[in-house]
């Protein structure tokens, strides 16, 4: 009886140790009585033995293995160095970008510094006024006004007023009288504490 394709697959699975035990028992019974099947199994085993030699012949010698391992270790060190270098470059680039940003912002803001309202009489209320704005100033007391243009040129020296309204009016008047091309700024500082 000829060995068909299904029987061959059965034999392959048996040789590979993949045939379930229940099927193995059936195969053993058939092998005992079917000579062709047994012959095919012997042939498969012989081929398998030759291929085992082939697979063994593919194994490299010690020097090849050592060479590969050395190459891999060198490559991993190179990879580590490149990774470290990449991180270093990223950090350096970020730092450079931050510095450049700071310098740019500073450069752009340099003119604005000259145009800031100037207070010539430091007092303990000066910072409060600067931070809270004129709206927070008290309605009465001593108010100093100094008027400068945006370039920082003095247009009117410090003068004292009794109320915020008077101080503002004075500043507006100076502003209206002057024809400075850079515009005019003014600031009012309440002098609550006498000095």
């Amino acid at each position: 009886m000829a060995v068909n394709d299904n029987d061959m697959e059965l034999l392959h699975e048996y040789v590979d140790g993949e045939l379930p035990m229940s099927d193995c028992e059936g195969l053993w019974r058939r092998l005992a009585i079917e000579r062709e099947l047994m012959g095919e199994l012997d042939r498969l085993r012989a081929d398998h033995a030759v291929r085992t030699m082939v697979w063994s012949s593919l194994e490299p010698d010690e020097s090849t293995v050592a060479r590969l391992q050395a190459k891999v270790m060198r490559a991993t060190r190179r990879e580590d160095f490149m990774s470290w270098g990449g991180n270093f470059l990223r950090i350096a680039a970020s730092a450079a970008a931050l510095i450049l940003f700071g310098v740019t912002v500073g450069w752009m803001g340099r003119d604005r510094y000259h145009g800031m309202p100037v207070v010539s009489h430091p007092s303990q209320n000066e910072s409060q006024m600067a931070s809270s704005g004129l709206g927070a100033a008290p309605a009465s007391g001593q108010f100093n006004v100094e008027v400068r243009d945006r370039s920082g040129n003095l247009l009117a020296p410090i003068q004292q007023f009794g109320s915020l309204q008077e101080a503002k009016q004075f500043a507006h008047d100076v502003q209206a009288d002057q024809s400075s091309p850079t515009g005019t700024d003014w600031n009012v500082v309440p002098e609550i504490n006498k000095f």
């Binding site: 061959m8 697959e9 392959h12 699975e13 590979d16 993949e18 498969l44 081929d47 398998h48 030759v50 291929r51 085992t52 030699m53 082939v54 697979w55 063994s56 012949s57 593919l58 194994e59 490299p60 010698d61 010690e62 090849t64 293995v65 060479r67 590969l68 391992q69 190459k71 891999v72 270790m73 490559a75 991993t76 990879e79």
Partner: protein, 179 residues
């Protein structure tokens, strides 16, 4: 704590790099043989294995290196198949006569020709057949493990192995008839 492939208990302080290095030392030989079986003389097995190792090293923190055998085998097989699928392949000098370090000269004389012919026949098999055969017969992997490694189904792996052996038998029968 789990044991590694060698039954050793890994030291707590052992870094990923140290585990990787140990895995490379442990598996290089067999992986080279697998790569050689799959790529034949169409690429350098050393290059295949090295590239596979480097692919793993670049993402080394993702893997458990205490049992790296299966991972490395899968990566080498995939790398070998990827290289074979590239359109332009250079053919390396045929070293099929080299039967490895462990054989005596007389055995070499007797078996050399048969082994040479089988190796050449294996090189003519389709790449998936070759990969399935080497994993089955050399690595003694189960069909399920081969299927996982090659990203195929178990019936597909069975078919590849079965057809591969049949084609080999036909090629070698033709060789036997010639001689």
């Amino acid at each position: 704590m789990s044991m590694d492939e060698n039954g050793r208990q890994p030291a707590a302080a052992e870094s990923t790099n140290e585990l990787f290095e140990r895995a490379v030392q442990l598996h290089s030989r067999r992986l080279l043989a697998i790569a050689r079986a799959i790529v034949g003389n169409r690429a350098s097995p050393e290059d295949v294995v090295q590239q596979a190792f480097m692919n793993l090293y670049q993402h080394r923190d993702r893997y458990d290196w205490r049992e790296a055998g299966g991972l490395m085998r899968r990566t080498v097989v995939n790398e070998a198949l990827r290289i074979l699928r590239q359109p332009r392949m250079s053919v390396l000098p045929d070293d099929a006569g080299d039967l490895g370090p462990s054989q005596s000269p007389s055995r070499h004389m007797l078996e050399g020709e048969a082994v040479l012919q089988v190796r050449r026949a294996i090189e003519r098999l389709p790449e998936n057949f070759r990969a399935a055969l080497v994993l089955c017969e050399y690595e003694k992997m189960s069909y399920a493990q081969i299927a996982e490694t090659l990203g195929a189904s178990i019936p597909q792996v069975k078919t590849w192995i079965h057809r591969g052996r049949r084609q080999l038998a036909e090629m070698l029968r033709a060789f036997a008839d010639q001689t």
